[in-house]
């Protein structure tokens, strides 16, 4: 309970913090669209003037009618006011339909570019920290709409502040009691609104897990993934019953809060719907009759002004609320923008690969500190031109070691030496240019085949490398079927004509990546898991021929693939338990031999028939 309280406090920002955060965001607009400030202020003052003109005009109009002023004079002033409206509206529509649309795009590009660049600097471990990752997703995903929304909200806020101050001045000059009544009722309204928000928030918090449950059940029924299982057994019925039951819980949950919400709602509506209209009218009627000095113009103008003011101030309240939400959001952005990457290095001149050695390396995932170490006391040595295999069961730590070699993480203890120098000395981007890696969970981007293979931008000079890399990954067969060859767009993300590849074909694209550039060290993490036997065989042959002279690290639990390695490292629970060539390890008759025989036996016995 106590913990929850402090959490809640943390979620409440005081006005100073809110303004600092909003200021932080506004600076982006000064930076990328300086004219925006002027246009915004122009609109705010123009709108303020519009409000004063209208209140004064109404006063003039009715006073003039009452006093029987000549019609032509009234006509003159009316047309003048209409003229102002015409011009101001034109400016405003230009601002909304043309100017703001364009500024949105400019801001988008500027801000997103900054955020993306920062995202690229994030350490891989940030993705493992659920809290950071969630905040980070939120920061980026909403950045597009938020940044502009904050600017717009701020400009409306300025507009309201200016306009309502002006009207309040006019109103107070005409009848200060009306101004006081309005301020008091709106002030009370704020207090009630605030309370209501709190109750609603509390209710939402309580309903959150229930709603998540409901939306999960909903999703299950409509997602393609689950359809086959839903048609087996009674799980569909069970899910439906679950929905009904959860609905019952939800209604009970809402009921608990309904008493308070009802009371607050009633207080708020009667205060804010009745007082500015009926209340003030009754007051003015009495005054009009009692105090003969009040003119009809002043009466009408007071009513018009108090309506405007009431509406503007309650609107202002909702903006304060919005700013608070924005502030919570901006804090996430600032946390992310202020992140200092720990994986860095100064040496940009990385020499050609000669050797790699790992000394006494320990590793725990940064956000799994209470868990056992993923890698323990790893020592190994790789020389230029060697073919190395990492084998072992699922979860033995093979892939993790690759991530460390690629410097997606840094070792907890011990070190990795590249040509005898610790890899932490090198600039990670430059260092990685020497190593090509294919991961088990490869990604194919919504870009052309050529861009995917180059792992970056493609120019015509790269054509030969792309073609030979695809051939090496035995993708050339499929390539012939593609309408635009290597310029075919992959995935249907952007256009329906995009090519959808099967798992095996995508894997081949990922494999081609390491052949397209002259990497000196190639790492293949289960490169053939999605391929059928013939394709696997072809790929293995091709990797061997194409990687001739280069250094290769293979990871697989299909031992037929790794047999031909110069040296095999057998991993078990984060440690290297055996190492040597296939022959040596078989003679040793340890775990490797056991695993190997388990796989070979089935093929062997039957082949002898």
């Amino acid at each position: 309970m106590k913990k929850e309280k402090t959490n809640k406090k943390k979620n409440k920002h005081n006005p100073i913090r809110v303004s600092k955060n909003i200021w932080f965001m506004l600076r982006y607009s000064f930076k990328y669209a300086p004219s925006y400030t002027f246009v915004t202020l122009g609109e705010a003052f123009g709108r303020g003037a519009w409000h004063i003109i209208h209140v004064l005009y109404i006063k003039y109009l009715f006073d003039a009618i009452e006093a029987g002023v000549e019609f032509r004079t009234i006509l003159f002033w009316s047309l003048l006011v209409a003229g102002y409206d015409t011009v101001f509206e034109l400016f405003n529509k230009w601002r909304l339909e043309v100017y703001v649309r364009r500024v949105r795009l400019i801001l988008h590009e500027g801000v997103q570019s900054e955020l993306y660049k920062k995202a690229m600097e994030l350490d891989q471990c940030c993705y493992d920290d659920p809290e950071f990752y969630n905040d980070f997703i939120w920061a980026i995903r909403e950045s597009d709409s938020r940044v502009v929304e904050i600017m717009e909200d701020f400009s409306i806020f300025i507009n309201r502040v200016i306009s309502s101050t002006v009207i309040l001045g006019v109103l107070a000059a005409m009848d200060w009691i009306v101004a006081v009544i309005l301020l008091v009722s709106v002030g009370l309204g704020f207090v009630i609104m605030n309370k209501m928000n709190k109750v609603n928030y509390e209710m939402e918090e309580e309903l959150n897990p229930i709603n998540r449950r409901l939306s999960y059940v909903d999703r299950v029924f409509y997602l393609q993934d689950h359809q086959k299982e839903l048609r087996q057994g009674g799980i569909a019925e069970h899910m439906r019953n679950d929905y009904q039951k959860t609905t019952g819980t939800k209604v009970a949950g809402i009921k608990k809060y309904m008493g308070r919400i009802f009371a607050l709602n009633f207080a708020y509506s009667s205060l804010l719907d009745l007082i500015p209209s009926a209340g003030i009218t009754i007051y003015l009627v009495i005054r009009y009759i009692v105090d003969s000095a009040l003119s009809l113009g002043a009466f009408s103008a007071s009513i018009t002004a108090s309506f405007k003011l009431y509406w503007m101030i309650s609107d202002l309240g909702s903006y304060l609320n919005k700013f608070h939400n924005h502030s919570l959001y901006i804090e996430k952005v600032r946390k992310f923008v202020g992140y200092e990457p720990s994986i860095k290095g100064n040496v940009t001149d990385v020499p050609m690969f000669e050797s790699l050695s790992i000394k006494g390396l320990d590793f725990v995932y940064p956000f799994a500190k209470d868990k056992p170490k993923t890698l323990k006391g790893i020592d190994l040595e790789i020389k230029k031109g060697e073919k190395i295999a990492f084998v072992g069961y699922n979860g033995a730590g093979k892939t993790t070691l690759i991530k460390l070699l690629m410097r997606l993480y840094d070792a907890t203890d011990g070190e990795i030496l590249y040509n005898g120098r610790s890899i932490t000395e090198f600039d990670p981007g430059e260092y990685r240019k020497h190593i090509g890696a294919v991961f088990q969970d490869y990604t194919v981007f919504a870009a052309t085949v050529a861009e995917n293979v180059m792992g970056g931008e493609y120019t015509d000079e790269d054509e030969e490398s792309v073609m030979s890399a695809l051939k090496a990954a035995s993708f050339d067969g499929k390539l012939k079927q593609l309408p635009n060859g290597i310029h075919s767009q992959l995935t249907t993300e952007f256009s329906d004509e995009g090519v959808g590849l099967s798992g095996g074909e995508s894997q081949k694209i990922a494999i081609a990546r390491v052949f397209a550039r002259p990497f000196e060290l190639i790492i293949m993490d289960e490169p053939s898991s999605a391929l059928d036997p013939i394709a696997e065989y072809e790929i293995n042959q091709s990797i061997l021929t194409n990687a001739e002279g280069r250094t290769v690290i293979f990871i697989s639990h299909r031992l037929s693939t790794t047999r031909m390695a110069d040296r095999i490292y057998m991993f078990d629970a984060g440690e290297i338990i055996e190492s040597g060539s296939h022959g040596e390890l078989m003679l040793k008759n340890g775990k490797y031999a056991e695993m190997y025989r388990a796989q070979a036996k089935k093929y062997k016995n039957q082949s002898m028939i």
Binding site: V81, Q112, E237
Partner: protein, 605 residues
Amino acid sequence: MKKDKKRINWKHTFKNNGFMLGLILKACPGVFWLAMIQSVLSAADAFLLGTYLYKYALDALQAGKPLKTVIITLVCMALYSLLYILFSCFAVRYYKLKYPVIDAYIQSILSKKASSVDLKCFENPAFYDTYIKAIDSMNPYGVMYTAMGVISGVANIIAVGVLIVTINPIFLLLALLPLIYTLLIGKKRNRIGYEYDMRNKELYRQRDYVRRAFYLRDFSKEMRLTEMWRVMFKRMHDSISEMKETVRQYGYKLMFFRYLFDFIIRVLVGTATIIIAAFKTLVRKTMLLGDCFVVINSISGIAGNINWIGETLMNLDQNSLYIDNLRSFLEYEVQIAEDENALEVPVFEKLEIRNMTFVYEGQTVPALSNVDLTVNAGERIAVVGHNGAGKTTLVKLLQRLYDPDEGEILLNGVNIKNYRLSSYRGLFGIVFQDYRLFAATVAENVLLRGDITDEDRETVKDALKRAGIYEKVESLPNGVDSNVTKEFDSDGAVFSGGEAQKITIARLFAVKHEIIIMDEPTSALDPIAEQEMYRNMFNACEGKTVIFISHRLSSATMADRIYMFENGRIVEQGGHGELLSLNGEYAEMWHKQADSYADTEEATA
């Protein structure tokens, strides 16, 4: 297609919107009627406090009515408003409590339909796009609020309209101006807006993709290790440049139309009203001051209101489109349906496929052609072949997730279409290649149903043991009752790919099935686990019929008969030995896999 139909089919549109309201009415009549009453009362409130109050006060003042009468009347009006506020607070309370019930009612109708429609619907992107999106965008409350708005709007227009007409009908004509504009030019304006959105839609999609590439974990490694981020930056820049171009092309047009409308409603109608009213009051002296005030203050409001209703009615047919889809989804006739009167499945003896051909909807090349295959009780059948040879399609047909286009499947000599669907499907225990776990307890995931009893728990434990995953489950805080996934339990168990697969395999052990089908059940397992799994599998299935599908041929050797598929056809069949000596496709595939192991044994021997 929609564009050719220039005329709005009002009857159809009203029927569709009525259908949505009907759902609410059926689920909870109270909500529906309360909403209707509320809209009329709110119109009365708006009229009294927003318009009539001033007219009365000013007229009374000018006529010099006694202060007491005036104040009492005004207070009465305020009292009505207070009562209305009380009423609407009660209504809100009622809605809040009833909406979840309505949601549940609708969910139950839709989900029943969704889990009974043919699987092919879900695999057809067009079906998915139209129907599932229709369900997604379905908003019965939106339809209800629109109806409420229209009712209270019409009521308000009538009340204020009558008042204005009694003052001077010319003002009502002025109030109609914006609607006339909308009727004449609205269509063109909407089309330009639509074109603008369409032009940008694709570009938004690109922009969103780029954003995802920068924040999703899936992309994070490649983005760091390659230079794809440059490509993504370029994509963003290109799409934004194109969007700027669209703004240049459409911005001023949009501005023109929106400005014209605002000009009419604010400047033209407003100023004209004031000038005419002033003229009548001042020069002609045909209008009272109170009337003058009422007209000037209410004209923009009523003009906007009339226009809003006009536009809402015109746009009703846009909602109507998704309701069309929703209704045809609910009316979709299931082809492979449960028939209570059909045969119950007898004791399994023989399953025969005769000359079966199957083409996926929208494709021209058959996924399976002229397949003949027999499975006798107690046999172990292996189906092998390259990726895309039609193996998984065969399984779906066997399970009657689809029906063949040609040929037939016979169970004990009777076409499977003659058996009751759930009874027939109950024959099979299946592990799919793309297995899924539900966010439910382990036991529910294994039994694929709810209402777990203690007896069930024992069955589940036993099944998990045999699948080799019990140790892991036992280590969880709630054992077999632990929730799977963190979907709605932050302590929920997360299983690795291999572990999840073992749980789905446990399904086969937990429920007795006559025929077991394993579709690549070992793809996520390491070799030792794979071997163990097969051993368990065959022990557990002793005497049972097993069909297994794999491209790892090592497992095929355990089969009584092997069917080798290629391009949807059976190219070879027979025992492992027979097929090897045939020296055909199977043998070639076998040697490719086996050779890498075969010659090593000498080194160790």
